[in-house]
Every structure is written in structure tokens, then in C-alpha cells.
């Protein structure tokens, strides 16, 4: 019983992380129909950037446990800012010139960008050829509950992850549905030409989309770092795929779908690792199998709308 509860908690934490990344995927796909492969790497870079903020920007005296209420927001800011700059630069330099190219072209470009980002960090971030440790002294409170024979542990970072992801999604959803720019984004996603006839500047809308996606991915990066206590160039690809699967499962383009998909993937990963044959060795495989099944039998996902037909 305790094991199950523990795995459910772990799944929710992982799910929150995946959801934050999936939001970026889903929004970008919604607006320019591009699977932004490099989005997972933006998350990874966000993690490294927040670590760099800690290691190279913050004054030494702030790096202890007592200062985390200042240090952590600054790290998050550092991670998010770098991630946003990266995401926007990517859009401007790599994707925008290809907006009218055949569909394979931006997809292949995204693949290339993803390789470049991963390699850049691996080559140029000090020590990044192996996982780089995050400061351990950070928000490391653990709450334990006795449940029957076993103990259930939930860390402060875990709570933070779940809270931030749900809060982030709610704010985003509100913004998209209520604000003027949110309306412009939805309009561009539904029909870019007509949105232009309404006076919407598609470039501005698209940049905004990448900005929001980048910020959320950067945030996910710092949360990942303090929760797992290290960051690694490999995580971008892996979590990128998780997040993409979550976005597809929920229905690409749907914010609600990305969040629910994220939590679903998180739970599937931890629970299959615990209870299915093969254990954690095959948890990835189950996720991929699920991805394929969803794509084949319900390509619009759980909450998505059938793909837009372009005129």
C-alpha cells in the first residue's frame, strides 16, 4: 500500500515536470504545426542555465541553505530567461525562414537544432560530459508518513513541482482564453490567414508562443535540477519525448490535454516500472507503445480537435 502511494506520488511529480515541457510542445504545434524537437533541449539548457546562475552569478554567501528563498527564484529566473532567449532565437533564425518550405524542412531543422544544443552544452559547459550535480543543500526537507508497514516520503521539491506545474497550466489557460493576445494566438492556430485579416501579426504571436513555451521549459529545468539534484545533457531528448507523448496523448494543441497527458505519462512510467514485468528497464517501452497506439487509434488525442484543414 505504501509502495503504491509512493509510486503515485513519484508519478505525479514526474508528471508535473512532463506537463510543463509538454505545454511548450503543444502550443508550438498548435500554432505552426511544427514538432519542435529541440524543445526538450530547451528544457535541458534551462536546467544548466539555472545551475550556472547559481555557480557563476550568485554571490557565494547566498549559496547556502538559508538563502534559498532568494537564490531559488533567481535561479529560476536565470533558467527561464536563457530558455526564452534560446527558444525565440531558434524560431527567428531556424524556423521562420522555412515557414513556407515543404513540411519536412522545418522538422529536419528542428532535429538539427536539437543536436546542436545538446552538443553545445556537452562541449562547452564545464564538466557536462557527465551529469553535473545541483546544489544539494536546497529545499531538501522531506516529509514522511507512516502507512501500515511502510513509509511514504514526499520532498519539498516534489510538492513544488506539482504545485508549479498545475499553477502554471491554470495561469496559461486563463491567459489564452481571456486576454487579447491569447485570442490572437488561438485565432492564428485556427486560421493564420484570417487572423492576419483581423490585424494579428503572426510573427509576434508565434514569438509569444515560443516565449511562453521556453519560459515553462526553463522553469521545468530548474525544478528538475533541484529535485533530481543533478542535470545531464541526455535528459533533453528523453524528457522531450515524454513530453511530446504527453502532448499527443492529451491532444496536440490542447492545454488541458498536455497537463493531463503529462500526469498520465508520469504515472504510467512509475507504475509500469514498479508493477510490470521487466521493471524500470521497460518503462520507456510502455510509454512508446502507448504513444504509437494513441497515434494510430486516436491521433487527435484525448482532448484534441481533429487536425485543421488548411485552405
Amino acid at each position: 500500500m505504501a509502495t503504491l502511494l509512493q509510486q503515485l506520488i513519484n508519478g505525479l511529480v514526474l508528471g508535473g515536470l512532463i506537463a510543463l515541457i509538454a505545454l511548450g510542445y503543444t502550443m508550438v504545434y498548435g500554432i505552426i504545426q511544427l514538432i519542435n524537437f529541440a524543445h526538450g533541449e530547451v528544457f535541458m539548457v534551462g536546467g544548466f542555465a539555472s545551475l550556472a546562475t547559481y555557480s557563476y552569478v550568485l554571490p557565494e554567501s547566498w549559496r547556502d541553505h538559508g538563502h534559498w528563498p532568494i537564490a531559488l527564484p533567481l535561479m529560476a529566473l536565470g533558467g527561464a530567461v536563457v530558455a526564452v532567449v534560446l527558444a525565440v532565437a531558434m524560431e527567428r533564425l531556424a524556423y521562420r525562414p522555412l515557414r513556407n518550405a515543404p513540411r519536412l524542412a522545418p522538422l529536419i531543422t528542428a532535429l538539427g537544432v536539437s543536436v546542436i544544443l545538446k552538443e553545445a552544452v556537452r562541449l562547452w559547459y564545464p564538466g557536462a560530459t557527465a551529469p553535473v550535480p545541483f546544489p544539494r543543500a536546497f529545499v531538501d526537507e522531506q516529509f514522511r508518513f507512516q502507512l501500515g508497514e511502510g513509509t511514504v516520503t514526499i520532498g519539498a521539491t516534489a510538492i513544488l513541482m506539482i504545485v508549479v506545474s498545475i499553477l502554471g497550466a491554470i495561469i496559461l489557460q486563463t491567459y489564452i482564453t481571456r486576454s487579447r493576445m491569447g485570442r490572437a494566438m488561438r485565432a492564428t492556430a485556427q486560421d493564420p490567414d484570417t487572423a492576419r485579416l483581423m490585424g494579428v501579426n503572426p510573427n509576434r504571436t508565434i514569438v509569444l508562443t515560443f516565449t511562453i513555451g521556453g519560459a515553462l521549459a526553463g522553469l521545468a529545468g530548474v525544478l528538475y535540477g533541484i529535485h533530481i539534484t543533478n542535470v545531464d545533457t541526455e535528459v533533453g531528448f528523453l524528457y522531450g519525448i515524454f513530453a511530446f507523448t504527453a502532448a499527443v496523448l492529451g491532444g496536440v494543441g490542447s492545454i488541458k490535454g498536455a497537463v493531463i497527458g503529462g500526469f498520465a505519462i508520469g504515472l504510467i512510467k512509475t507504475l509500469s516500472g514498479q508493477y510490470l514485468p521487466g521493471g524500470t528497464q521497460y518503462d520507456l517501452v510502455w510509454i512508446f507503445v502507448l504513444l504509437i497506439v494513441v497515434l494510430v487509434f486516436r491521433p487527435q488525442g484525448l482532448f484534441g480537435e481533429p487536425e485543421r484543414v488548411r485552405a
Binding site: 487579447r180 485570442r183 490572437a184 488561438r186 485565432a187 485556427q190 486560421d191 490567414d193 484570417t194 487572423a195 492576419r196 485579416l197 483581423m198 490585424g199 494579428v200 501579426n201 480537435e305 485552405a311
Partner: protein, 237 residues
Amino acid sequence: MTALLEVQNLSVAYGAIEAVRDVSFAVGEGQIVSLIGSNGAGKTTTLRTISGLLRPKSGSILLEGKPITELAAHTILERGVAHCPEGRRLFGRMTVEENLHLGAYVRKDSGVAADMQRVYDLFPVLGQRRTQKAGLFSGGEQQMLAIGRAMMSRPRLLMLDEPSMGLSPIMTQRIFDTIKDLQAQGTTILLVEQNALAALALSDRGYVVDLGRTTLEGPGHDLLADERVRAAYLGED
């Protein structure tokens, strides 16, 4: 008198295919001007080029004598040219209200709410269903919403592309009445229609576009009487 809109020697190509060749026409302030012609004549392409969705290969488009040829679509809208596209192109997953809000997207003044009420007064059915998704509406209702949406930017020139397409005769009549009303309120109208009879009947001026060129022009009732127009577009011998 300079015309509000002047199109000079406009040519537009899709790759190697020239859809519009050397089209010229003018729309005077306060007029209703219609472009008529058969399917594929290049009328829609012309409108899309005026509103900045397409780039011309050559030629120029002047608004009050100033070129807008190279401007972006949103800038052209800000200058007062609204385009109600062919097939209505509503945002089907958004409500009536949201669609109207998008129509007023470029406006920063406080009159949006009043204008929205004006649209609801003009088309009461929209007012009754303002929180419903636009995709659920009938063709005629959608056309009303599309016109209402285009009006929300308070355009000086409203371009309507096939507003009567797919509508019943009664609904078509209502839409044309509305167009007349809009003119009476001071809006200049550029109308693209396959329904040449109805369009020319209410136009101050008409242009016949054929295979990408303007072939005939004149006041609406003159064109209506022209034998060649009657033969080609009104189905008479």
C-alpha cells in the same frame, strides 16, 4: 478627385502561374464597386493581394494615393481596409463574441463595446447567441457574423468576397440590403461576386475580370445593360 483605393496594373503569380494579369481599377470614396467574373478569374487573388496576404509580382495598390503594396496585412487593416474573406472563414471554435473581439483586434479606442452592440442590433440573431461557438451557425448566420466581424475594425473600405455564396435567395437579399445600409452609413465597399446581377444592381461602378484581366468597366447599370456582360455572366444569349 483621388479614389480611396486605386489598383494599377496589378499582376500576381502563384509560382509560374499568373493568376492576375495587369488588373487596374479604382474605388471612389463612398461607392460600392464590384468586380465580377467567372470562377478562377482572379478576383479573390486580387482582394487577397490588396489586403496584404499575397505579394504582387508587379503593379501597385494605392490607398488615398499612398502605396500600400508592400505593407503587412495588419498594417493595411490599421489603415482602414477590412477584408471579409471568401467562405467566411470564421474562427469556428470561438464564440460569436470572441470573433467580434478579433475583428476589433487592432482598435485601441473604447468604442468596441458600442460597435459590438451595433452589430447585434443589425443582426439580432448574433446578439441572442453571442456565447455560442461560431462553427455551429448556419451559412447565413455565419455570413452575418463575418460581415459584422469585418465591420468591427471600423473600416473605411470594406472588401467582401462572395458574400452571397451558398445562401438562400432570401438570405442573399438580406446580405445585399445590409451592404446598401453600410454604404449609407459611409463605408466604401469593394464587392467581389459571381452573382453578377445582384452585385451590379447595387454597384456604383463595376469591373469585369476575365482570365486575370479587367476586360470591361463602367457604371453598374450600364454594365447590366451591356450585351457582352449579359451574354457572359447573366446567362442570356
